[in-house]
């Protein structure tokens, strides 16, 4: 057949179904197919979403009342560290990696990623890194004996992480597991860039690629530049802890602030790495359910690149209280405010896409609309935080926790759900239940707002982050109780999603190639696509090849 990737196994779907269980597992373990690996990444991410979500619910249970004795402080501190670390590296990263893995080759008319074996290598590195992190619950020992996961917070500030203050090896689990997953992510980034530059189908110039593919390109470049500072800082921390080096050893003249700079030079671009894919999903889903082309394609691409560039210059807005000079503080305030400009432009462009359209409120669109409102609010609380003196009150409080959960959950998880409902039919050939989907959406929306709207106010009333309890009489009781109830509601909503997925895999309505009447190349092939993606490599002339086919009297390439 046409195409240039090396496959040893070309089994049809029927052949697969006839293999014994071990054969099937073996198929998945040795696969280098971007679609399979994409599914494995997303499934793995959702698995850890459930685990880290349960950890969050335990945290909220403890904080529902003042001085609650549900968990002792040591356990709580491990919970908050593992919840944060897992949600960023074992949920956010793999889900975005998985979707890009699955969609990018399909959207550019390629048969696979540029380096399929590297793709598989990256996945298994991630997988083993994830296992290593949670293995710490069994194998780690810390200040309080064995069975101790890391408890230094997801950003692991020095010198708390130095041997003197973090005895045992629980911190080492944090370092090594994240180091592994980062190498895996770097491999994927290299793969996506090479694929995008070298494997587009005929007719697809860079400006004919879907916005999602542009965002995967920007995200990949950001990963290449932002992940190394974390790995470097972690290598330095390992040298401190094992070979007696002094990178962050303040007793020997080392600098605790240096860790913070290195971490946030990674950490800030990292959160844009996490959110840009959500923008990609929105830029594909909102047009389809508004029945309109994306408003301002070139501006969307330019804004995405601008966000990528500016986001590497804002990192010290996480450090406004550290004691930088007024000039330094002002610089980072300015860069942070500036990155809000292209971000806001994207919101306006999505609004422009909806405007004058014919909106269809299917489940992916419901999640996308909630995303728009929530991301707007999150961006505005971000502007509040960029005003340095205001940040001196708000930093390290529940206001910041609320702000970043508005992004991580309100923008990213909502769009991850939207993407799942939108592309599940393509991936599995079956539709997810619309009714269960609506229950999932409304419950999750209510729970999300119950929790995170109220936490803004807890922060403004003086509640700092990462505290295992608070005393009564501080005025924090009711706010925290409401927030905890919201967590329960979100948990129920996620349960409904799981039921929906399991049910639909068995008996969901058959989807067909193009259930949403969409316009990008992945909808031109079968659901699920064959292993080789396309029978013949597509040839395109505009950004919406299927629109051209469906509307030959009014094709896009006349207007682009």
């Amino acid at each position: 057949m046409a195409g240039s990737i090396e496959h040893e196994l070309t089994l049809s779907a029927d052949d697969l179904r006839s293999l014994p269980i071990l054969g099937k597992v073996h198929e998945w373990v040795v696969t280098v197919d971007h679609k399979r690996l994409g599914v494995m990444y997303v499934a793995g991410g959702l698995f850890f979403f459930a685990i880290a979500g349960l950890q969050a619910m335990t945290i909220r249970l403890q904080l529902a009342m003042p001085n609650a004795g549900i968990v002792p402080p040591e356990v709580f501190n491990r919970l908050l560290t593992m919840h944060g670390t897992a949600m960023v590296f074992l949920v956010g990263m793999p889900i975005l990696t998985g979707f890009f893995n699955y969609l990018v080759p399909l959207m550019i008319g390629a048969r696979d990623l540029a380096f399929p074996r590297l793709n598989s290598f990256g996945f298994w590195l991630w997988f083993f890194g994830a296992l290593l992190l949670y293995f710490s619950y069994i194998g780690g020992d810390g200040l309080y004996g064995a069975g101790s996961a890391p408890d230094v917070g997801w950003f692991a500030y020095a010198p708390l992480t130095e041997r003197a203050f973090s005895r045992g090896n629980c911190t080492d689990y944090w370092i090594l597991s994240i180091f592994l997953t980062s190498v895996g992510s770097t491999a994927t980034a290299i793969n996506l860039i090479a694929t995008t530059f070298s494997m587009r189908c005929e007719g697809m110039t860079l400006t004919k690629m879907p916005v999602l593919v542009w965002l995967s390109l920007v995200v990949s470049f950001m990963m290449l530049v932002a992940l190394p500072p974390l790995s470097a800082a972690q290598a330095m921390l390992l040298l401190d802890r094992f070979l007696g080096a002094h990178f962050f050893d303040t007793q020997a003249g080392g600098s605790a602030v240096l860790w913070q700079h290195f971490f946030w030079i990674f950490g800030h671009p990292e959160v844009y790495v996490l959110v840009l894919p959500a923008f990609g999903f929105a830029s594909e889903i909102i047009p389809v359910f508004s029945r309109k082309v994306i408003f301002g394609y070139h501006v969307m691409v330019a804004a995405s690149c601008a966000i990528g560039f500016i986001s590497v210059s804002v990192w010290a807005h996480h450090m406004f209280s550290v004691g930088m000079t007024p000039a330094g503080n002002s610089f980072f305030a300015l860069s942070t405010m500036l990155v809000g400009v292209p971000t806001g432009i994207k919101i306006f462009n999505w609004l422009g896409t909806i405007w004058g359209g014919k909106l269809r409120f299917r489940v992916p669109m419901l999640f996308s609309l909630a995303f728009l409102f929530q991301f707007l609010i999150a961006g505005l609380t971000g502007i509040m935080l960029s005003v340095v003196p205001f940040d001196w009150q708000l930093t390290d409080t529940y206001f910041v926790v609320a702000h970043f959960h508005y992004i991580l959950v309100g923008a990213i998880i909502f769009m991850d759900f939207a993407a799942i409902y939108y592309w599940f039919p393509k991936i599995t050939g079956r539709m997810l239940s619309e009714t269960l989907g609506k229950w999932h959406f409304w419950l999750f929306l209510i729970g999300f707002h119950l929790t995170f709207d109220t936490l803004h106010f807890a922060g403004m009333k003086g509640m700092p982050r990462r505290i295992y309890t608070y005393q009564p009489g501080r005025g924090l009781d009711t706010l925290n109780l409401i927030a905890s109830i919201g967590a329960l509601v979100q948990g129920i909503a996620v349960l409904i999603l799981i039921i929906n997925v399991v049910k639909s895999l068995r008996s969901g309505e058959v989807a067909g190639d193009d259930p949403w009447d969409a316009w990008t190349l992945e909808w031109s092939t079968t659901s699920p696509p064959p292993e080789y993606n396309f029978a013949t490599p597509p040839v395109v002339r505009s950004r919406r090849p299927l629109w051209d086919l469906k509307h030959p009297e009014d094709p896009d390439w006349r207007y682009e």
Binding site: P73, L160, M337, T395, Q471
Partner: protein, 342 residues
Amino acid sequence: MTISLLAGTPIPAWANDWGMGDSNSKIPPSSIFNPVSTPAHEIDTVAFFVISITAVIFLIVAGLLAYSVIRFRTRPGDDGREPPQVYGSNPIEFAWTTVPVIIVFVLILVTARTIYVVQAAPRPPGALSVHVIAHQWWWEFRYPDLGIVTANELHVPLSDPHSPTPTFLDLESVDVAHSFWVPRLAGKTDVIPNKRNSMWIDPQVAGTYLGQCGEYCGTEHAMMLLRVIVEPRPDFDRWATAQKQPPVVDASASHGRAVFESTSCVNCHTISGTRADGRFGPDLTHLMARETIGAGVAMNTPAHLKVWVNDPSVMKPGALMPAMNLDDKDLDDLVTYLATLR
């Protein structure tokens, strides 16, 4: 267990709060929007400004979004034709780029001004100096000009807005990164080992202000609490004088003092005039002048002192002070002795 939905009404706690709930209830909540000191006032002003701007932006954009969601929904009986495809509009893109840039311009000017007003404030010659030293998980306060050493509760003089008498705090840490935060007085400033930071407050209303450590610093970060007691100058001077006195020597507590001086207490604590000169734990010379113990984890009563000395981890699990495991008689006498240290 009753649940009250009125904001601020305390909900009965499950675990023992060692009297702190009652004490905290008598103090107004530490809201950032209830400032009594110039840095906090400046922040409150700039906060109000930025909240107003973002509120307007929100109303406009969210309003347009809400409108479009309603106005452009597919009506029942729709003919299924695609709406007009609009690919973009340069004038609109220009407009909604320019307006945010202008807003950024205004915001950065206001922000920079407040940064300099707070951070670059000159230290007037009459300002009180306090050296704050953060430990895992308590606060040490040294007044170099007054020769006083105390812990966890910071006394400062009231400042008259017309002729301010600010207190300047120099912040240092002996171990890991912490952060000094009393919301009604100022924003938080981190306390980082091998780095000298400073901040200032000039509280204009007398009273007690609650705060706590604002940077995760280990197991008991949550209970590294702060109280700032602002008093009119005469009261402050009286307190300072009392702090400079040698400790009360009460003959009835002599056995307790003997227990203290012969146990490892002396390695960590200082009581001036005795052989105890340890620096690892708080100075106990005028212990009973403080409202709370354990950096705010319990009210300072003999009964609570007994629990603390016997085993601090009952009140503050993970605290670095070990359980002293004294027998009952020694423990009682020791507490009697501590209770004399006014």
